[in-house]
Symmetry: C2
């Protein structure tokens, strides 16, 4: 396999984007990435598109070809592939793009993700998202995504004595990072008290424990490392790209507050890169709910099981802590356009490694991403470093 680098990145503003369509969002992010890499469109060999449910959100399947076409790339008849694993769809797009370049199938490959979630009503959105869980055994019983993560949170609190304040501290920290991120949907300062007095969604999860419903898109461009300097002075090498699955339904798991797919994908990423946990300077994890960030930190091996709440409360996951988590603001503050999130995580890691993260810049040479589908049936991990 060939070494692979990221040479271009782009990301739209995340939010309720009433004046933009699904396809225009993709194109906006793609054009930013192409321009960032100093490429022309006809140099692109292949694209991978992460999207969860355009079929239900905007009545459109076949979105790989659609985006190739509306980006002007269909004139070269490039392969265009949509991949889907619910909220990990963006992560899959990146991993497939990596494999395509690493294998030698293609040289210049785009990985993009988008979701336009606000064009349908709240009830429909809730039902679409329930399609990420096991429809026949979870969705049909009426359980929603906040409901599933509430069960994880309750189990975790019972086992490890996590306090409500510690859970709230995750949201407060991520909003503090998002304050400095121009793409964030909610760049707003919040407090522990504010989280704890926000509306109850599914006990113990409250409104400010949840990532919002978001429109947005992100795109990155990969090429063989040996060609990266043709396009950029600051190539970022992909040191690992791994993926794992686990049971789709919560009730089939031995331990619902440990995500086996996170453990597996994380271990594989460290094995593939030859790195240790201590080599990682920062990590973007999948905080679709506050509890998810705590599980991720632990299941990736950055602290022992049950300790992530304390770590967060003590500021060790903040920008200048021991292991900064979600410097972007995470899904919590940036928003969570489900197909885009996995690619937006790469966007943030590349910005940080290039030193282009503005007021939220940290000192870092190696970063990691962690993208979850459903309640952990799919996990994608990536490790990136300065080339």
């Amino acid at each position: 396999m060939r070494d692979v680098a990221v040479i271009g990145i782009g990301c739209t503003k995340f939010g309720e984007l009433w004046d933009k369509s699904f396809r225009t969002l993709f194109i906006e992010a793609g054009e930013m990435a192409i321009s960032d890499a100093g490429l022309s469109g006809d140099q692109i060999d292949e694209i991978f598109i992460g999207n969860m449910s355009a079929g239900r959100f905007v009545g459109q399947e076949h979105v790989g070809a659609l985006i190739a076409d509306y980006s002007g790339l269909a004139t070269n008849n490039i392969p265009a592939t949509r991949v889907e694993a619910a909220c990990a769809s963006g992560g899959l797009a990146f991993r497939q793009a990596f494999t395509s370049v690493a294998s030698g199938m293609a040289d210049i490959v785009v990985a993009a993700g988008a979701e336009k979630m606000n064009d349908v009503g709240t009830e429909e959105t809730t039902d679409v998202l329930a399609a990420a869980a096991d429809r026949e055994w979870e969705g049909i019983a009426g359980v929603t995504f906040p409901g599933l993560y509430a069960m994880i949170a309750r189990d975790y609190m019972n086992k490890y004595g996590l306090t409500r304040e510690q859970l709230a501290a995750v949201a407060v920290k991520n909003h503090d990072n998002g304050l400095h991120n121009p793409i964030a949907q909610f760049p707003t300062k919040i407090t522990i008290e504010g989280v704890m007095s926000s509306s109850l969604v599914a006990d113990p999860i409250r409104l400010l424990d949840c990532s919002p419903v978001t429109d947005g898109a992100a795109a990155v461009i990969l090429c063989p490392l040996e060609r990266a300097h043709e396009f950029t002075d600051t190539p970022i090498q992909v040191l690992a790209s791994t993926q794992a699955s686990a049971t789709i339904a919560l009730h089939d798991r031995q331990d619902i507050s440990t995500l086996d797919a996170t453990v597996a994908a994380g271990n594989r990423a460290f094995k593939m890169s030859g790195l240790e946990r201590s080599d990682i300077d920062f990590v973007e994890v999948h905080d679709c709910f506050t509890i998810a960030e705590l599980c991720a930190i632990e299941d990736l091996g950055f602290c022992k099981k049950g300790e992530a709440g304390k770590l967060t409360e003590e500021g060790e996951t903040a920008r200048h802590g021991k292991i900064p988590v979600n410097t972007s603001g995470g899904l919590k503050s940036c928003g969570h356009p489900v197909g885009a999130t996995g690619v937006k995580q790469i966007y943030e890691v590349v910005l940080q490694l290039r030193g282009e993260a503005g007021k939220r810049q940290i000192d870092a040479e190696i970063g990691m991403t962690h993208n979850v589908g459903g309640t952990g049936a799919t996990v994608v991990c990536n490790i990136l470093g300065r080339a």
Copy 2:
């Protein structure tokens, strides 16, 4: 890149399968392929799942993980990726599986496809399939898939003087092949007169010009060629696996009766394999409508533009003709579970190359597949040969 071989195949009966669910169909095909390869499940490293629209047909996204889980493969946390390009979703699954093995990312990889289309009503099915075209410019205007292919057929007839009888001959030939295929949904003999007097769907397309709405699944297993003899005495080598895109909407094409993506994917397959058209002994093409088979034969380069009708009428695409087309019975007689079709084409080619095609067996060493998404915005081609 490593050489890759197919070592196991499986396919369910295609039809209206009221007693089987989406997930059980996948598992049935997967178990047949695993058993065919003499593998145990824990030897599998990765799976790719082709599916167009389980989100709308059965309310389920995240189907890669779902199938890994229900196949018992999630216990090993293997990567499970769903790919989608409408009716070419199965073809994409095969190509991604090929890339995964060729790159060295994985050794034993499953490519599977399924669609459960009969669980919703006819009107809903028509609307779901319209999501393969450009929703904003075609679907919203009320055009259905038979409508789009009717425009192609009318254009083709005007340009090349194709007769209604020649078009009907495609259906008659494919049903004659399907008669001998145990998986076929409609293993029924039909006549030119029968096609021409069947109900008009969208002029000039009649009911017996259309592939049916179908439930079904297919699965194949790939591994590095150098390991293939561990699992089978009759490995089939993948000599090329290519993909191309084109404009999604018909109105954006220079010539609607030539599929540019077929031309591009076909040319790439011949280049990748180093073979000539004359080396191909038979081909499975995407005959979602009779006109689509004629376009495919020409756009792949097996005859000049405008000549495929005559070729068919003269019997040269029949089982013992010059270039047998759709020995399986094609989408027309076998049925067209959209996510499964691209994998079922591989299934047929492998059966023929192994000499296991029963009464429809032909003498062949090299076969080709051609799988189309929408009206040709995505095309996947594969060439396989005895190893």
